[in-house]
Symmetry: C2
């Protein structure tokens, strides 16, 4: 079945925040992302494909989606390129429901590792942290302040599939501090002026839940969130650079948490 002009126009609005808000849908483009969707058993509302450009790998994927009864819609390569908003379209584009993003609905007391990002405006950094969070056993990512939209095409692409594997809550600082009120979660703020290294702090945390907070490179974490932290930690490096890229900084710290939790298990 081909996509009508009107449907094309509707799908295209999903490139904008307004279109995603109005429909509750988002786009995931390309073979690698859609393979990850299947691996996490997430099915699109429907899948657009351009028969003239799909590879063998894409065809296999298409067949697998067909077998689980996903609706497939045909369109031209040019139309697909316009929908996907990238030049090198691989002939496949999924339209997915945006999952739950309210913090109280997503929060579980059993979570041990939570990442919070404040004012991370770059979609590439948010997507990269999403992927690292999933890789290092984090169970929830919270976005607050002026952070990038997790369901914008650029963020989804940078997440390389983590969009399907790890829930993201979008919220404000009030709700975060309310969730922390029971005092069960150790809150770690990353800041160049931090006094402790994460390794030292982790020894005291042991098996308790932790929330790692990462702020923007230019301004760091807000005073409000810094004040809610139990510990201020920093990453040791030479002072030839003022700071690290925030996706790199967050990933290094999550890796240290992962190694610590793994060592305790064994």
């Amino acid at each position: 079945l081909s996509l009508t002009r009107a449907e094309l126009k509707n799908v295209r609005t999903l490139q904008t925040a307004k279109g995603r808000r109005a429909t509750g849908l988002f786009l995931a483009e390309g073979v690698r992302l859609l393979e990850e969707a299947l691996r996490f058993d997430r099915r699109p509302e429907f899948l657009c494909y351009a028969p003239s450009v799909i590879s063998e790998r894409a065809q296999t994927l298409l067949d697998r989606f067909r077998r689980v009864r996903v609706t497939l819609r045909e369109l031209s390569a040019a139309d697909l390129g316009r929908l996907a908003g990238v030049e090198t379209s691989q002939g496949l584009l999924g339209v997915f429901q945006i999952p739950e993003r309210r913090l109280p609905q997503l929060w579980r007391p059993a979570f041990r590792n939570i990442l919070l990002c404040e004012n991370l405006a770059d979609p590439g950094n948010v997507g990269t942290l999403w992927r690292s969070a999933l890789a290092f056993g984090f169970e929830l990512m919270i976005l607050t302040g002026s952070s990038a939209d997790p369901y914008a095409p650029k963020t989804v692409r940078s997440s390389v599939g983590a969009v399907f594997g790890l829930p993201v809550a979008e919220t404000d600082r009030d709700e975060v501090t309310a969730m922390l009120k029971d005092g069960q979660t150790r809150v770690l703020a990353t800041t160049p002026r931090g006094a402790s290294s994460l390794k030292t702090v982790l020894k005291n945390i042991g098996d308790k839940p932790l929330m790692l907070m990462v702020g923007s490179e230019a301004d760091g974490l807000s005073e409000r969130l810094l004040a809610s932290a139990d510990e201020r930690i920093r990453i040791e490096h030479r002072d030839d650079v003022e700071s690290l890229n925030s996706a790199v900084a967050g990933s290094i710290l999550m890796k240290e948490c992962f190694d610590f939790r793994e060592r305790r298990k064994s």
Copy 2:
């Protein structure tokens, strides 16, 4: 002194690889990058500025460049925006000489930590690794294969000043393997199929020089470079993700090298 139309056109060609090759010059835009240039005592051939949009911080910087006798050239904010190729120009743009980039000229036997990137096509990843390499005490970055141009505006921006603090060699695999022939440098290849963790390998390396090799996410390192490695290392993570972002992976490993070298010092 104002920039003439012809000069404007010349500066604008520096946004392209062809223009940079023809002139041996590159662009560095914005306050933060130019502050780093001064900190590393690197002076531009000349500095363009748009008086109507510069901030107080930019003005201070401008005065410092003037004191060290850097030529300043005035232009309109619109012209500067066009030159810089970014929307949010901060009213300052430096034109710099591209430094030495031949490997034999840059290589020093005294180097202890070298990063090699193969086929890293994304300028953001190359810039981010450059910055992490400087932060974690690496002394040289080598780019090979189809890696991004280190002096393209996007790479320079992502390096956040590392462009002025750490030399980069651009070369082919033959030259790399030739430099390694004396056998003094331990060569570590990063690959998901690696057998060892970096921590274990570092213990055997001790104070010897090491070269850390990072390949592209999609294809990993070439067979050629894998074959030249003394050790194949991997980063432990959950198998919920296939791989990490390559800038994240390289940075995590460089941080482990840094921590190891620091511990040996103390």
